[in-house]
């Protein structure tokens, strides 16, 4: 596969390490009353869609960026790639 790195252009997916669903960015609040349930769902339950999937790839043999790749799990087509850091900020993560 080829991942269109937002900064570096097309790079072989072999340079990357895969982690999983990009929802892992949405780490729950540890002080919430439902923290135990929230962390269980965060840690263990997956949508696992047959189709478009936002997922985390680490450019291990490249610039060490985590990327959010939007990829179809049936066809492997990739429609969008973004720096995970930007995505995380956009989803309200900070310090």
């Amino acid at each position: 596969m080829i991942i269109q790195h937002p900064l570096l252009g097309p790079r072989d997916a072999a340079e990357f390490t895969y982690m999983g669903d990009a929802k892992l960015i949405d780490r729950p609040d540890w002080q919430s009353e439902t923290a135990a349930q929230d962390f269980y769902a965060y840690g263990y339950l997956r949508d696992n869609p047959a189709g478009w999937h936002k997922e985390l790839w680490f450019h291990e043999a490249g610039d060490r960026s985590w990327l959010v790749v939007t990829r179809n799990t049936v066809t492997h087509e990739i429609s969008e790639v973004a720096l995970a850091r930007d995505v995380a900020r956009a989803r309200g993560r900070s310090k």
């Binding site: 269980y40 840690g43 291990e60 060490r64």
Partner: protein, 979 residues
Amino acid sequence: MTQRNRLASGGQINRDETLKFMFDGKSYQGHAGDTLASALLANGVRLMGRSFKYHRPRGVLTAGSEEPNALVELRGGSRQEPNTRATTAELYHGLLAKSQNRLGSLRFDLLSINDRLSNFLTAGFYYKTFMWPAAFWEKLYEPVIRHAAGLGSLSLKDDPDVYDKGFLHCDLLIIGAGPAGLAAALTAGRAGADVIIADEDFRMGGRLNSETFALGDNSGADWAAATVAELQSLSNVRVMPRTTIIGAFDHGIYGAVERISDHLKTPQEGKPRQILWRIYTRQTILAGGATERPIAFENNDRPGIMLASALRTYANRFAVAADRRVAIFTNNDDGHRTASDLHAKGVKISAVVDVRADAPRSLDYEVLHGEVIDTKGRLGLTFAEVRLADGSTRTLECGALGLSGGWNPNVHLTCHQRGRPTWNDDLAAFVPGSDLPAGMTVAGAANGDMSTTGALQGGRNAALSVLDLDNAPLDLPAAEDAPVVIKPFWYVEGCSRAWLDQQNDVTVKDVKLSHQEGFRSVEHLKRYTTLGMATDQGKTSNMGGLAIMAELAGKSIPEVGTTIFRPPYTPTAIGAFGGRHRGQEFHPTRLTPSHKWATEQGAEFVEVGNWLRAQWFPRAGEKTWRESVDREVLATRASVGVCDVTTLGKVDVQGTDAADFLNKIYCNGFAKLAVGKTRYGLMLREDGIAMDDGTAARLAEDHFVVTTTTANALPVYRHMEFVRQCLFPDMDVQLISTTEAWAQYAVAGPNSRRVLEKIVDQDISNDAFPFMACANITVCGGLRARLFRISFSGELAYEIAVPTEYGDALMRRIMQAGAEFDITPYGTEALGVMRIEKGHAAGNELNGTTTAQNLGMGRMVSKKKDSIGSTLSEREGLNRDDDLRQVGIKPVNPEKAVPAGAHLMAMGGPVDAAHDQGYVTSACYSPNLGHAIALGFLKNGSERMGERMRLVSPLTNVETEVEIVSAHFIDPEGERLRA
């Protein structure tokens, strides 16, 4: 030897170059430009192999890579290559080949008895029998079956050749160098595009080399040669003959195998046998041509029966008549071309048998309306029996019979990403479907354009379109443009032992039986009968099977569907996929900065991941490794030792939020760590299980150096970047892995300070540099260095680091400085002994299933802050009262060992899984205590100090009585550390 079937003239062989070769111990001659198959045919050899199951005599069916029958063991010795297609093996001087899959000689194969038993050996017969008595399967039936099965043999010697891997980038990859591919390449090449054109054949041109018709004023072969020459002259075009595109992978990545040395007796020195190329391309034109298919009738598998197009190839390209008397059986006009070409070369055409009433007539030979219904000839065809349309029969004398059942476009690569071909009624064949791999266009015969003109135009137009060119289109030479005229015809009515898959011996009868037994989906058929599972992946057999299935099910062929074509396009040497990654080069080797020095000391080395670390340093007179390790341990604890610990991961953590960041990744607190101090840190995974441990040294307010275990350096760094970029993107923190930037040595033992005082440029007295201190320092009069007062051994100890390039010099200097204290270098074994004596957890304890609780560090998990893993670590299953706890274990009888991997059972209780109490993780002999010691996990272990237990290892026949003790065998109060 004469080449009795070599035609007097013509062909693209070099008659001036005569090559000698051996087949089954007999010597023959051929010419440069021959394949093994063409050379054997030239010498009148039709019998080349035996079929898989019935051991039927077999000759060539094809003249290309789709060959199912003529498989040989090529070369000898360690280069023996089983299952090599004689049809693609280039002849070279001294070629050696043997026939295979036979018991006895090729002519008298004892296993041909199977053919007599064929009635018992029908499709799937083995599922119904060989079950009684049950024990006989492994002992009797299976060994017999295994020895009879298989095709060729491996030498079982290490492959002496090397294989390269490589990477190519282009705008346009053209697969196939027939008329379509060449026209596409010329168009794109002249327009300046970055083009790669690859063809599996050693001579580019595809069918142009096998046909007699002209392109403009030239022969097809000459036009191809001229075009290839022009392409080779263009710097933007890479011309790759002998290169098979084996697979179309995601996003325009193609696998290709280039055969560099297979046409040579042995590869040139330093050169690979083959190269596996990974080709990255934006666009692809598949111009892979088409494959002719046979027709099924009784005994249609005898040597001498082959595809009509193959007869033509042998005659036109190789100047070989497969036999001097040839018949043709066809359902389409193309079959007649073979007859006219062969006739023109003086071959006697016994007759052309055509299933069509309106077949073209010829003045030169007889055309019969009818069907071939049977053949004769034990080891080679002698007669073909024909049933004419009026019901009468005729016997044709012939040594070769050409079959033409129509052509299948080579759609394989279009299906590698699960695209499905679609049916074309005009061609009676599948053509590429609409769901092609992204960026792929198909042209020429592969796309169903079967005429030469159609192929040339298709190739040119495809190139213009994919490159979006509007320059003047290439002038194409005038060429034949005959339409496809075909009457679908798959098998002769009433036939039974009529071969569909010649290699696997699947007949029409088998397909019918399979249907009768309910194996009616195309995948069931394939799996039940093995149709299409031969080394040609069904290139010559699938269509016949589908057609029969369709008829039996009352469906059309497209309704029956196809099986899925899988990479590789043709079978590919496993060595090519392995490349240079074998032997010592399987994985990279990482050497520590003191490696050269350690080698000089005669160290034994051990693989730790990719690192090689000194395991121990034997001295003269030491007979066992234990003697060396015991000495190293005792000397270190008594005076001073030195050990290379460079392999521990090191991550530079800088930024104003560095301390907050460490608070997130470690379960214990770091915010309050003073500058100049080091702290032990335990890192959890988000699921609350211990991930790694190490130290973090605060070199400045905004600068930490974090260490990881050797094994986890990379995953921990990745995890830290995840936390930084994805979870806390607004923290001001920067991470750099610096594992290899610093040579780091542990100097341990009561005299370690006295050694280092001679090296370090500053005061390192206990007051100035107490336990857990860290600092940027200089050594040896000014070399920048780092010093950490940390200890894995439990002794007064330091870790000292200098830039890697000075590591060798520093080790020598430490040894020099320590000489007066008899400093002892120690390896990983002594390191392990000392850490077990001290009760430190390491990889065997941090095994991915243990919690801080299990490790006895439950209280370290701060509840006052949010850190990775803290919430999920509180789950009930991870906080049970009877949880495993790390304990120390010692044998009751000090002579006994306490082996790692043994399990703990209660005294007097049963020994079984239900009563398992725990297990030993790490074990060693403690020279300080004079007996074996171990660390382990025991249920509720912290409450069981002093308990005696049974330690059992039935696997290694060990049973020992042990006592549960504290894991801190040495200096439990830690006084030595602080000395």
